[in-house]
Amino acid sequence: MKYFKDLWQTLNKPAKYLTLGSISLTAFIMGIIFWGGFNTALEATNTEEFCISCHSMESKPYQELQATVHWSNNSGVRATCPDCHVPHSWGRKIARKMEASSDVWGWLFQTVNTSEKFEDKRLEMASREWARFERDDSLACKNCHNYNSMKWETMSKLAQKQMKSAAERDQSCVDCHKGIAHTLPEMGTARAPQLIAEVGTGPSSFTNEQPYFSALTKPLYFSPTGDVQAGTLNVATKVTVLASEGDRVKVAIDGWRKKVGLGRVIYFDFGINMLTAQLSKEAAKTDGIINGFEEKEDTMTGLKWQRVETELWTDAEYLITEQKPLWDYARTTFRTSCSVCHTQPDEAHFDANTWPGMFQGMIAFVNMDDDTQALVQKYLQQHSSTFVKEAH
């Protein structure tokens, strides 16, 4: 304490021995050294070598980048890690550097030092990265790419259409161009956590002869205990529960199939390509699994269809009592995910057999897990002109 008091006294009065010249010279030199040193340090942490000194422990981002156009292209321009990940303006760069203290933290505690750990965290990290790109409208990309300098004529039809409307809104590139530099996080395996959070996992006991609806795409089995799969039951499909045993239930599924090949795909109704269930080859070949009834010919395609019923076992979870929550979830997802790219068409704009093709074309640029995809597609089909007209 005394030390600081003395120090303060010395500092607080005019220098007696140090000359004004030496003081200002010191200040000048210090200024240069500080500014230079700081920027040198900042630059040093803004090189790819620096990033991969850590991000090589799992190697992934670097190796994945090498397979992309940003590693080698006709123009010979190389995008480095900081080009995409660190803002250029000074203030934001410092802010990003501070955020990167989580990098240091993660390095100390080895959060992503193996391939498995990296994959486990990839979705979480990518989500944060996407939020950053969204926050500044993909400024990092726009430092190199400029909507105004794009040569629309030589672009593909799809690119022209999408990119021109994106340019009008000066839209963030990463809205559509995700996974441009690295492998996209695995989203299909998480089994639609948000969907399940919304609709629940279903009741714990079932009433026989009552209708239930699948909340996910579910496996079908031959028996209440065996693990040989007889096929899959599509999401949001109505089934009738016949019996419960252990953690499985026996369900009755009905629909129509095309009389081609083994006819192991069951559709919602005659002439409508809306998936209800897909049986395995064994199941389709086994007598008594699929029971066929009357047949009809579709004059549009010349295909013969047959009404069918089947009774199989499935896991008791993810069977819910109402269909409406599923449609509600699908509607919101459709509205939010697809409007990112364009004003999405009305559900009743297409018929049930046109929607799958349209939808598959759209989702190429949207991150949606398999269950949600299947659900939204079914929602669109179920609310397409095919059914809306009939309801009127």
Partner: protein
């Protein structure tokens, strides 16, 4: 000790003090202030962004 000698020691003592103070500023105080100022600036921008704001560039 003569008065003159006494005067000399205080003189060289306070000279030393002055140099020490300068050294303190160069080695400790200003670097610390620098880091604090830049860090604080970064923190403010980070906070603005974290609250969903847009920082002009």
């Amino acid at each position: 000790m003569t008065t003159k000698q006494l005067h000399k020691t205080t003189e060289s003592q306070s000279k030393l003090k002055e140099f020490k103070a300068l050294g303190f500023i160069i080695v400790v105080l200003f670097p610390a202030l620098c880091v604090a100022a830049i860090g604080g600036y970064g923190l403010i921008i980070w906070l603005i962004q974290a609250m969903g704001g847009i920082v002009p560039h």
